[in-house]
């Protein structure tokens, strides 16, 4: 695997292999915070054209745990604002000897352009592009589900029913997960307000919860869409679509996932966020392990002669 741009490029077997690696790494991370020399001498850039502190520090720590040199290209404060285009940025980082570029961009397809235009020889990892994809998020969610269900390494998520709730249409997290979880054999169901969910999904959360999901995945409400015609108000959204205490109690055995940062009291109640079934912190831990596995996988065998 040279780049990781989309979950679409991952076959089931390859996905399970990546999850197995990440699972092993997460066990090592549990034991101690020590570093591994795997990526010694490699230079990794994080390029975030859109703010995301959590994803950036997760990738940054992953690269550092593998002994790579990590440089933060603070895209907002940089030449981008002076008008530099993506190609020039790519070529500048190439000239500095970049081995991997971890990229977050507000436009869908940005990571693909970066990887497929002969601008750079670096491996590109998509850390979220517009409404398109966020593959490492889907991988870390899949790993958290597998651990939460006590499914052993080497296996998928066959026959598990996962309900994704919220702004399905505008969410790269939902898009990546729907694809990846289905490949792993899970049954993926979506629910969200009519303006946010495909017609095949549920338009009423209480009805959706009656399908007895094995896990629910809450999506963050993007505040920038609030008070626009699509969502009239916070309170209405919380009432209709929030995972309240009552709703969480109606599915006592289901795992609860949220990609963070959470809007408590809006899409998720404090009760749900802190319940025994909440995987939120597990997801953060697994994010680190998955990104370590992805980095060593895209950088492995790059200069292979055979």
């Amino acid at each position: 695997m040279r780049h990781l741009l989309s979950t679409a490029q991952l076959e089931r077997d390859e996905t399970i292999e990546l999850l197995d690696q990440a699972a092993e790494i997460s066990r090592l991370n549990e034991e101690s915070s020590r570093k591994f020399p795997t990526l010694q001498g490699k230079t990794v850039f994080t390029l975030f054209f859109e703010n995301s502190t959590r994803t950036r520090i997760s990738f940054e720590l992953a690269a550092k745990r593998l002994s790579a040199d990590v440089i933060n290209f603070a895209a907002e404060a940089s030449a981008i604002n002076k008008g530099e285009n993506l190609k020039d940025t790519a070529q500048t980082l190439e000239a500095l000897g970049a081995d991997a570029l971890i990229m977050r961009h507000p436009k869908g397809g940005a990571a693909y352009s970066m990887a497929n235009n002969d601008w750079t020889t670096a491996s590109v990892i998509n850390a979220g592009d517009g409404m398109n994809q966020h593959p490492t998020q889907a991988l870390l969610d899949a790993l958290s589900l597998r651990q939460g269900f006590d499914i052993p390494d080497g296996k998928g998520l066959d026959k598990k029913r996962v309900l994704i709730i919220g702004d399905i249409v505008h969410s790269r997290v939902a898009r990546s997960n729907i694809d990846l979880l289905a490949k792993l054999g899970a049954e993926v169901i979506v629910a969200g307000p009519g303006s946010f969910a495909p017609e095949s999904g549920y338009a009423n959360l209480d009805e959706a919860l009656e399908v007895k999901p094995d896990a629910v995945m809450m999506l963050r409400v993007q505040k920038e869409r609030m008070n626009q015609p699509l969502i009239p108000s916070d309170r209405e959204y919380a009432n209709l679509w929030g995972l309240s205490e009552r709703r969480a109690k109606s599915i006592p055995d289901a795992l609860i996932l949220h990609p963070g940062p959470m809007n408590r009291g809006l899409e998720i109640s404090s009760y749900a966020a802190e319940s025994e079934k909440s995987m939120v912190l597990k997801q953060v831990k697994n994010g680190l392990a998955v990104r370590m596995a992805v980095l060593s996988s895209v950088l492995g065998g790059k200069n292979a002669t055979v």
Partner: protein, 170 residues
């Protein structure tokens, strides 16, 4: 393809290696197999140790996937489990691998080991030493020395992974 060690040979050899390890060390030790087949061999040796001197050794395994120095030229290999009973600080550790070749696996294993702590002493046991070292590393216990050319492939097969116990040269 030529079989150079049969199941019977491997049995006898691992028994001899168990005796040699005990002969040289009076204190209890930790036997760490290097995945994948080093782990199976460590099990063979441990079975013998359990018969000869029960309770004198503990068995574990040490993965080196994240410690290799050839990531550039070979795709990342699957990472296996590392199991270390207790810790390694101040203990005698005997590393076990199937084939000793360039010595790079053992270098990586030494790095991996030192990331867990500081053993009192580290020794190395291998079933086959095929020569062509690229680093100043030698084994303390060798099952069989097999001189090879660089183009040949030495393959140790074990029951749990390959369905048979043997050593072949291609």
């Amino acid at each position: 393809m030529k079989t150079v060690m049969s199941e019977e040979d491997i049995k006898r050899t691992s028994r001899r290696m168990a005796h040699e390890i005990l002969e040289r060390n009076s204190e209890p030790f930790l036997l760490l197999g290097i995945p994948t087949r080093g782990v199976s061999l460590a099990q063979f040796i441990q079975q013998n140790l359990d018969e000869i001197a029960p309770g004198n050794s503990e068995l574990g395994q040490l993965d080196i996937g994240l410690f290799r120095d050839d990531l550039d030229t070979r795709p990342a290999k699957a990472i296996s489990e590392t199991v270390i009973p207790g810790n390694v600080d101040g203990r005698l550790v005997v590393l076990v691998d199937d084939v000793l070749f360039s010595g790079r696996t053992i270098r990586a294993a030494l790095d991996a080991l030192s990331s867990f702590g500081r053993p009192a002493e580290v020794q190395l046991a291998v079933l086959v030493d095929r020569g062509h070292r690229q680093l100043p590393i030698r084994a303390d216990y060798v099952g069989k020395n097999i001189p090879t050319s660089l183009t040949e492939k030495v393959q140790v097969k074990t029951m749990d992974i390959d369905g048979e116990n043997s050593v072949v040269i291609e």
